[in-house]
C-alpha cells in the first residue's frame, strides 16, 4: 500500500482527538471509520460524557465547516433545511439556507425533536440533497451528520424508529472515562478553550481521497462470505425481531474496510469486522426478550461467537 500523505494526516487526527477526549481511543477511531466509510454517526449516551465535544473535535480536526443544531421539541423542518423569504427589494422569494447546508451537521439531542423534524434531517442524510419548495438543492461534499442522543428512557424523548436508526452507519457509546483519564481531565485545561484553538489536521480534499482509498481496501471472498454469514445468521436466529438489512451488511463491510485502513492494512481481516460489528448491529438488532428497549448488550458477542469463520 503506497503511503498517502493523507494517511499520515489521519494519524494526526487520531492523536489530536485523543488529546482532547481522554481515554476514548476506540470510540474516536470508530467515529473516524464511520466518516471514512461515508456513513453518518450516532453517539448515544448520558448527558455530560462528551458527545458534543467529540462531534466538534472531529469536525474541527478534519477541517470541515460545521453547524450545530440543538434539537428541541418545538423545532420545525424549516429550522433545519431553510426557508424562502419574500425579498421586497428584488420582488421575489429568496432562499435562506438552513443549518443543514454544511459539511458536518452536529445534530444535538436528535431524539428531543418530533418525528416530523427528525425525518427532515434523515431524508437529507440518505439522499444527500434537500428539496425545498420544488427546488432540489445538493448538499456539500463531504457531508456528515453526527447526531447525539440521550438514552431512550430519559424524559421528553421521541425514540428514533428502526427505519431511521438504520440510516446511521455506526452508533457508539462513550461511557464514563476510566479513573486515570478522568483524573487527567479534572487536572487539565478547559476543553472548550482547547476546542477553540484546535488546528485542522486535514483538508476536505484529503478526506475525500481517504474515502476513496477506503473503498479500494481488498475484501477477500472468504471475508465477503463471513459478512454474509453474519447477516444470514441474524435473519435465521430467533433472538432478534428482524435480521440485518442488506444496507446494514454493506455498511458492516464498508466500516470494516475503514477500520483496516485506520490499522494501516490493505485488506480486511475478520477481526476488523468483529471490532466494528457492535457499533453496526447494536442499534439495528432488537433482542426478542428485551422488554426495556435499552439493548441487552450481549448481542454483538453472541453474534460473533455464533458465526464461525468460513
Amino acid at each position: 500500500m503506497q503511503q498517502l500523505p493523507a494517511l499520515t494526516a489521519l494519524g494526526d487526527v487520531v492523536r489530536s482527538a485523543n488529546r482532547v477526549i481522554l481515554g476514548k481511543d476506540k470510540a474516536i477511531k470508530l467515529a473516524l471509520a464511520c466518516l471514512l466509510a461515508r456513513g453518518h454517526l450516532l453517539i448515544e449516551d448520558l448527558p455530560g460524557v462528551g458527545k458534543t465535544t467529540l462531534a466538534h473535535v472531529l469536525a474541527r480536526l478534519l477541517g470541515l465547516d460545521f453547524q450545530r443544531v440543538q434539537f428541541t421539541s418545538d423545532m420545525l423542518p424549516a429550522d433545519i433545511v431553510g426557508v424562502s423569504v419574500f425579498d421586497r427589494d428584488s420582488g421575489s422569494f429568496r432562499f435562506h439556507a438552513g443549518p443543514i447546508f454544511t459539511q458536518v451537521v452536529v445534530a444535538d439531542e436528535i431524539n428531543r425533536a418530533t418525528p416530523k423534524t427528525q425525518s427532515a434531517l434523515l431524508e437529507a442524510m440518505e439522499e444527500r440533497q434537500v428539496t425545498v419548495e420544488g427546488a432540489t438543492r445538493p448538499l456539500p461534499e463531504p457531508f456528515f451528520v453526527i447526531a447525539t442522543q440521550n438514552p431512550a428512557h430519559q424524559i421528553g424523548t421521541f425514540p428514533l424508529p428502526e427505519s431511521q436508526l438504520d440510516r446511521f452507519l455506526i452508533r457508539i457509546e462513550l461511557g464514563y472515562p476510566d479513573p486515570a483519564a478522568e483524573r487527567e481531565l479534572l487536572a487539565g485545561e478547559d476543553r472548550r478553550s482547547m476546542l477553540a484553538t484546535l488546528p485542522a489536521c486535514m483538508t476536505p480534499a484529503q478526506l475525500i481521497e481517504l474515502q476513496q482509498a477506503t473503498r479500494k481496501i481488498h475484501a477477500a471472498p472468504a471475508l465477503i462470505d463471513y459478512v454474509q454469514a453474519i447477516a444470514a445468521y441474524t435473519r435465521a436466529a430467533p433472538d432478534w425481531h428482524a435480521g440485518l438489512s442488506p444496507r446494514a451488511a454493506l455498511g458492516l463491510l464498508a466500516a470494516a474496510r475503514a477500520w483496516a485502513l485506520l490499522a494501516g492494512r490493505d485488506h480486511v481481516l475478520p477481526e476488523d469486522v468483529q471490532i466494528v460489528l457492535p457499533g453496526i448491529v447494536e442499534h439495528r438488532l432488537r433482542p426478542v426478550d428485551d422488554r426495556t428497549r435499552l439493548g441487552a448488550g450481549d448481542t454483538p458477542s453472541k453474534l460473533i461467537e455464533a458465526v464461525p469463520l468460513p
Partner: protein, 654 residues
C-alpha cells in the same frame, strides 16, 4: 457423564417439566388416583419452585420420598413387577427426579425416562390418538434434549429443530417398521387388563343385559361386503347360542368347538364379506347365516356357535361367504332337541296356560303353533323400549301380561319360553343385528348397541329356523338401524342420536381413519410382513434374513451419509486444512481455537500462552491470514505461499 457438573438452568428446568408432564399425563388416567394426583402435584410443586427460584430439597428427603413411593406402589399393586406397577414406579421416579435436577446428568436421566414412558403408552392402547400424542411428547422431549445442550434459542426454534431431527429419523423408522422381525400377537396382552374394559355379549342373557349394551357405541366389528351390501333386515350376526333357561337367565351350554367343517350343505345365493373383529376377549366369531368354509383357528360347536380356539385378544380379520338360504340342523341329535324343550319346574303360569291351549288346538303342527304365537305377540300390543320396567318374579308373565314393555331380550325370552311350553324346540341366539354403513369408506360398522337376541325354532324337516319376535312389535328395529328406531325419550348413546348429523360426520371420518390405521399399522402382522417381503423378492423371509437386510440397509444409509460428509470435507480450502492442523496441535497444548476467532487475535493469545513458540505462531497466523484475506500477489505462482505455509506448519511442534 458423572463429571458433568453444569447446573440446570431455569429455562432447561421449564423444558424438562414440560417434557415430563407431556410424558406423564397420558398415563395418569391408568394409574391409581392417589399416584396420579401426587405425581402431578410434585411436578406442579417443582414448577412453583422454579418460578420462585427456591432451593431443591436436601438429599435425605428425596431418599425418604423415593422409599415412600416404592412402598406405595407395592402396597397398591401387591407387586413391583408387571405392566401397571412398572409404569407407576417409573412415573413416580420421574416426578421425584425433577426434584433432584442438580446437573446435566440428572437432566439427561429425565429425558431418557420421558422417552421410555412414551413407549409404555403403547402397552395400553395403540390407537391413532395415542400415536399422535406420543409424537407430540417425543417432539417436546427432543426439544428438551436440544435445550439441554443450548437453552438460549427460543422455544419455537428448539421445537422446529426437534421436528427436523424427527423427520430425519423417519426413513430409519420406516425401515425398522417394515423389516424388523414381527412377533405374533401383542407382546403384553395380559388377559384381565385387556378385557376388563370391553363390554360385549356374554355367555348368559338375563333381562337387562343386552339393554345395558345399548348404551355403548364401542365398535364390535367392521364388515366389508363384496358388492352391494345386503338389506339391513337380513344382517343377523350370529353369536352365542343359549339353550338353557333357569326361569330368569338363558345360558350357553356348549363351549367346545368340535366341527372344523360346517355340518350342513350350503345352498342358494352367495354373499362374500370380510370382517375385522375387535378384540372383545370372547371366543365367538360373528358371521352371517351360513358359511361354507370356516375361518382358520375356529370351529362350530354342536349347536352351531362359531368359536375361535382362543379368546380373541388381538384384532382378527377373516373372509367368509354367507348362503342365507341354507337350512341347518334338520338331523340334529335327540339330545339337542330335548335340551331345546327343557323348562324350569314352576313359574310363569299364565304363559304356560296360553301355550297349553295352543298345544291343545294344534297338536303336533309346530308351524301352526309358531304362527299362533306370533299372532299372540301381535295381539298383546307389546312395545319396544330401551328402558323396560324392572321385573321381579315370573319375568315372562310380567312382560307379556302386565308391563308389556321390553327390549329384545324380553321378546326373545318370552317367545322361546312360550314355544317351549307349547312343546316346540326353541333356543335363544344372541349376536348383532344390522349395523351402519360409514359413508366415508363404505364399511359396515357394527357397534355394541347393535347387540340383539332372537330365537331359533326347530321345525321338523326344516331344521332350525330363525324367528325374531322383536320384529313383530318393532319392525323398524330390524329394517332400519338401531339408532333410528329408538323411542323418543329413551336415553341413547350421545353419538347415536340422529340429530347430531355433523358430529356423526366427524365420527365417520375418524372411524374410517382408525380402520386404515388398524389395517395397515396395527394389522402389520408377521403374516403380512411375510407377504410384503415376498413381494419384494425375499423367497422365504425369516428373522435372520430380515435382520441381515435391516442391518445392510441401515449400514448403507450410514455409509452414504459418511461419504457425503467426507466429500464435502474434500472441498475445504487447502489453506483451511493446514490451519486446522495447526490449531489442532495448539489445542493439544491447551490453547483452543474458537471457530469464530480471527487468526491474528488467536495467534496473540496462543503466543502469550506459549511464549517459547510466540514468533512461530505469529508467523504462521500471519501467513495464513494473508493467504486467506489479502489480495493475491499479481506476479507469482498461486501456490507458493501455500507451500510455504504447509512447510511451516509441518515443522511446527509446540
Amino acid at each position: 457423564m458423572a463429571r458433568d457438573k453444569r447446573p440446570v438452568s431455569q429455562r432447561q428446568t421449564w423444558w424438562l417439566l414440560a417434557a415430563a408432564l407431556s410424558a406423564f399425563l397420558p398415563l395418569a388416567s391408568l394409574l391409581s388416583p392417589w399416584l396420579a394426583v401426587s405425581a402431578t402435584a410434585v411436578m406442579l410443586l417443582r414448577g412453583w419452585m422454579t418460578w420462585r427460584q427456591w432451593r431443591l430439597p436436601p438429599k435425605f428427603i428425596l431418599v425418604l420420598l423415593t422409599i415412600a413411593a416404592t412402598a406405595g406402589v407395592v402396597v397398591e399393586y401387591r407387586t413391583m413387577f408387571g405392566r401397571l406397577p412398572g409404569v407407576a414406579l417409573l412415573s413416580a421416579f420421574l416426578a421425584l427426579k425433577l426434584l433432584e435436577l442438580r446437573g446435566a446428568r440428572d437432566a439427561m436421566a429425565v429425558v431418557l425416562l420421558c422417552y421410555f414412558l412414551v413407549l409404555t403408552q403403547f402397552m395400553f392402547t395403540q390407537s391413532i390418538a395415542t400415536a399422535l400424542m406420543a409424537c407430540a411428547t417425543v417432539l417436546i422431549t427432543t426439544a428438551t434434549l436440544a435445550a439441554a445442550a443450548d437453552d438460549r434459542p427460543a422455544p419455537a426454534f428448539l421445537l422446529r429443530r426437534a421436528g427436523v431431527l424427527l423427520v430425519q429419523g423417519l426413513p430409519f423408522m420406516l425401515l425398522l417398521f417394515v423389516l424388523f422381525p414381527r412377533v405374533q400377537g401383542p407382546l403384553w396382552g395380559l388377559p384381565q387388563d385387556r378385557t376388563s374394559a370391553v363390554s360385549g355379549l356374554s355367555d348368559n342373557m338375563s333381562p337387562g343385559s343386552i339393554a345395558q349394551l345399548s348404551q355403548s357405541d364401542t365398535i364390535a366389528f367392521r364388515v366389508q361386503f363384496e358388492g352391494k351390501p345386503p338389506p339391513q333386515h337380513t344382517l343377523y350376526w350370529r353369536g352365542p347360542v343359549m339353550p338353557s333357561f333357569d326361569g330368569r337367565s338363558w345360558r350357553v351350554t356348549r363351549f367346545s368347538a368340535v366341527r372344523t367343517v360346517p355340518p350342513f350343505k350350503v345352498s342358494g345365493a352367495k354373499q362374500d364379506y370380510e370382517v375385522t373383529l375387535e378384540p372383545l376377549g370372547k371366543s365367538w366369531v360373528f358371521a352371517l347365516d351360513f358359511p361354507d368354509k370356516l375361518p382358520p383357528e375356529s370351529a362350530y360347536s354342536e349347536d352351531l356357535q362359531l368359536l375361535s380356539r382362543q379368546p380373541i385378544r388381538a384384532r382378527m380379520r377373516y373372509s367368509m361367504s354367507a348362503f342365507p338360504e341354507t337350512s341347518v340342523g334338520a338331523g340334529d341329535t335327540p339330545s339337542l332337541i330335548a335340551e331345546a324343550l327343557e323348562l324350569p319346574r314352576g313359574g310363569n303360569p299364565r304363559t304356560r296356560e296360553v301355550a297349553a291351549k295352543w298345544r291343545e288346538k294344534y297338536g303336533d303342527n309346530t308351524e301352526a303353533i309358531v304362527a299362533e304365537a306370533e299372532n299372540f305377540f301381535l295381539r298383546q300390543l307389546l312395545s319396544y323400549t330401551l328402558n323396560p320396567p324392572l321385573l321381579s318374579e315370573d319375568v315372562i308373565d310380567g312382560f307379556l301380561f302386565d308391563t308389556k314393555r321390553g327390549f329384545c331380550e324380553h321378546f326373545a325370552s318370552a317367545f322361546a319360553f312360550a314355544l317351549r311350553a307349547a312343546g316346540v324346540p326353541t333356543r335363544i341366539v344372541a349376536g348383532y343385528q344390522g349395523g351402519e354403513i360409514n359413508p366415508v369408506d363404505g364399511l359396515l360398522v357394527v357397534r355394541q348397541y347393535d347387540a340383539h337376541a332372537w330365537t331359533e325354532v326347530w321345525l321338523k324337516g326344516r331344521g332350525w329356523v330363525r324367528f325374531d319376535p322383536t320384529a313383530i312389535s318393532a319392525p323398524q328395529r330390524i329394517a332400519d338401524n338401531f339408532a333410528a328406531t329408538a323411542p323418543e325419550n329413551d336415553s341413547l348413546p350421545f353419538l347415536a342420536r340422529a340429530d347430531m348429523a355433523w358430529l356423526r360426520d366427524i365420527r365417520n371420518q375418524m372411524e374410517a381413519a382408525t380402520n386404515v390405521w388398524n389395517q395397515w399399522v396395527l394389522g402389520y402382522t408377521p403374516q403380512r410382513q411375510r407377504e410384503f417381503l415376498q413381494g419384494l423378492g425375499f423367497k422365504t423371509p425369516d428373522w435372520q434374513e430380515m435382520t441381515a437386510a435391516l442391518a445392510a440397509l441401515c449400514g448403507l444409509v450410514l455409509l452414504l451419509l459418511t461419504g457425503w460428509i467426507l466429500y464435502s470435507r474434500k472441498k475445504l480450502d487447502p489453506a483451511i486444512r493446514q490451519w486446522h492442523k495447526f490449531t489442532a496441535r495448539l489445542a493439544k497444548r491447551g490453547v483452543q481455537w474458537h471457530t469464530w476467532e480471527d487468526p491474528l487475535v488467536f495467534a496473540e493469545r496462543a503466543a502469550s500462552a506459549l511464549p517459547a513458540h510466540a514468533e512461530n505462531i505469529r508467523g504462521i497466523a500471519h501467513d495464513y491470514a494473508n493467504l486467506r484475506y489479502a489480495a493475491p500477489p499479481k506476479n507469482s505462482t498461486a501456490d507458493t505461499p501455500l507451500t510455504k505455509l504447509r512447510a511451516r506448519i509441518a515443522a511446527f511442534r509446540p
